[in-house]
Amino acid sequence: MSISKDDVRKVARLSRIAVPEERLEQLAGELTGIMGWIEQLNEVDVEGVEPMTSVVEASLPMREDVVTDGGIQDHVLANAPRAEEGFFVVPKAVE
């Protein structure tokens, strides 16, 4: 399988990572190499095999649907790049 520059551009966009045009070629080569190596999984017969979820039989535990914390606005905002008056300040998202 070959991954083209266009594929990389698309994947970079989906990943929300700005990749400069001049790096696309090299990344396409690297990703082609890695995906080519991964292709060997096609040799494995997985017909009727369940995908693995856990090594120890375990079901996700349930808990009461109650509020267990809160009132920590200062903690939540402590690491914000920008915060004002108890809010995160973010770039304008709607024109």
């Binding site: 990572i17 060997q40 494995v44 997985v46 369940e50 995908p51 856990s54 790049p81 973010v90 770039p91």
Partner: protein, 520 residues
């Protein structure tokens, strides 16, 4: 220090190393306190041979003089450490000493530590300072341990050489004979391994997604264990690949590893994959011996291009276990070769999902762009390093529309096949013995050109992650270049006991006491 005190210490150090490093000294110098094992240090504290403040100060001093060269710590917390040491000494004076009371530890930068910067060695977390504590580290502080600082690692634990850290790599305290070339301490827990090997902490926390505890341990002559998936809580650990990530320690001895693992593991409601099981007293397993145990030797772990010395060490390990009364059984794990390619679908896929949270809005470093998407893209392009970007793109690719079944789902099915291989052989054997890594520590840059070549480092360790099984690396020999090599023991799910039992026996047989010659 008066005479009696020196004698007590002298005895303990000898017991800890079975060597004669302090043969003629009646008094133990303060700097020598750092050479103690965790177990010996706790005995020294208990017998009042020294205080936690004295012990902690010795580590603070060592870090001060050594870290500039070794770069094992990315944050040091000497004031906090000494305050915790004083509190510990007060508890001990009141007869309220806890399991790890007064023991100075290093913490991998992946664990959130309240009030202490935690960035998983990534630029994108900026100066992130958690307002909460990870469950694993909280367990250690609840046991009285002292925090010396945060340890270097590959960015988001993605790497096998610690070269992807935003703070630059640590140096392996070990070097090839007659060479001053810097070698990798392995990855991703390279800082943890370097700190333990260089006596910059008694023991360290680490984490293992594909081998990140066991490979650095093997490269530095230390012990490292990844417990069964679900034994330790992932709460407050910076997430990489959630179905593979598991906490564990790097230590100087198997007994120390058993003690640390006991205290790190717990059932935790804050992690839904944390198993509701009791944590056994693994310390009691270390010296039980292997008489009557059946040990499997998987033939698929004999790979092309593996150095003869590693093959020889594996044979030596087999001989040791036989001599101690274990029965050796040749076994086959036919899907072993598919483990790494499956890992390189599952881990990047889960990472691409986990790392979506780093958008520069709520925490971390933000790079303002022309519009919202531009801000996201700029923030992530400047905040993530090359390897992380590469893996996120692979993850996004394999999860993208139309590819989920072909890649992620297929890889999860291959995981089932790998686990079934293990379950089949574990019907006949108690544990498996393999080399930990296909090579000794390598120099920086030696494997950097080709990502796949670097990934092959994890070929023997990654199977235990995919199957969720416990695996331990124990130092067993020095190669012809003067570098340590490790053997790995893989156990059944929740059977860390067998791992500690076999590793303890190997440690005893190998009599591994070598330490790197101090050059730093």
């Amino acid at each position: 220090m008066h005479r009696e005190r020196g004698l007590i210490l002298h005895f303990e150090v000898k017991a800890a190393y079975e060597g004669d490093c302090f043969s003629d000294s009646m008094d133990l110098r303060m700097s020598d306190l750092t050479k103690l094992t965790l177990t010996a240090a706790l005995e020294g504290l208990e017998s009042k041979a020294f205080s936690s403040r004295e012990l902690t100060q010795a580590f603070v001093d060592q870090i001060e003089t050594s870290n500039g060269v070794l770069n094992a710590y990315v944050v040091t917390t000497p004031d906090k450490a000494l305050a915790m040491a004083d509190a510990s000494d007060a508890r001990r004076a009141n007869g309220e000493a806890l399991a790890l009371d007064g023991a100075p530890l290093g913490i991998k930068d992946l664990y959130c530590t309240k009030g202490v910067r935690t960035t998983a060695c990534s630029e994108i977390l900026g100066e992130f300072t958690p307002t909460y504590e990870s469950t694993v580290t909280q367990n250690l502080w609840d046991a009285g341990a002292v925090m010396l600082g945060k340890l270097n690692m590959d960015e988001f634990a993605m790497g096998s050489s610690n070269e992807t850290s935003r703070f630059g790599p640590p140096a392996n305290p070990w070097r090839r004979d007659g060479s001053n070339q810097k070698l990798t301490a392995g990855g991703s827990s390279g800082g943890s391994a370097a700190a333990v090997a260089a006596d910059l902490c008694l023991a360290a926390t680490a984490s293992d997604t594909g081998g990140s505890i066991r490979q650095p341990a093997a490269f530095t002559g230390t012990v490292g264990i990844k417990p069964t998936y679900g034994r330790a809580s992932r709460y407050g650990m910076v997430a990489f690949a959630s179905s593979l990530d598991q906490a564990g320690p790097i230590t100087k001895t198997v007994a120390d590893a058993a003690l640390m693992t006991e205290l790190m593991c717990s059932h935790d409601e804050k992690d839904s994959t944390s198993l509701p099981v009791e944590t056994p007293r693994w310390r009691d397993d270390v010296h039980k011996g292997v008489k009557g145990m059946k040990i499997g030797i998987p033939k698929e772990y004999r790979v092309d291009g593996m150095p003869q010395e590693i093959e020889d060490l594996w044979q030596q390990g087999i001989t040791w276990l036989k001599e101690m009364g274990a029965e050796i059984v040749d076994v086959t794990l036919p899907h072993t070769k598919y483990a790494l390619p499956a890992y390189y679908i599952v881990a990047p896929a889960e990472a691409s999902s986990n790392l979506a949270r780093y958008d520069g809005m709520r925490y971390g470093a933000r790079v303002q762009g022309g519009d919202l998407t531009g801000t996201y893209e700029g923030t992530r392009a400047s905040g993530f390093g090359e390897e992380v970007q590469r893996r996120l793109m692979i993850g996004t690719y394999v999860l993208s529309s139309g590819y989920y079944d072909a890649y992620y789902l297929r890889a999860q099915k291959v995981r089932t096949k790998i686990l079934q291989d293990f379950q089949t052989v574990f019907q006949d054997v108690d544990a498996l013995l393999t080399p930990t890594c296909p090579s000794a520590a390598f120099a920086y840059g030696e494997n950097a050109g080709d990502p796949v070549q670097m990934y092959l480092n994890d070929i023997f360790t990654v199977t235990a992650n995919l199957a969720g099984l416990p695996g331990i690396s124990v130092p067993a020999a020095i190669d012809s270049n003067g570098l340590p090599l490790g053997l790995q023991v893989i156990g059944k799910a929740l059977d860390e006991s067998a791992c500690f039992q076999v590793a303890g026996a190997l440690e005893e047989a190998a009599g591994f006491v070598a330490k790197p010659e101090k050059w730093w």
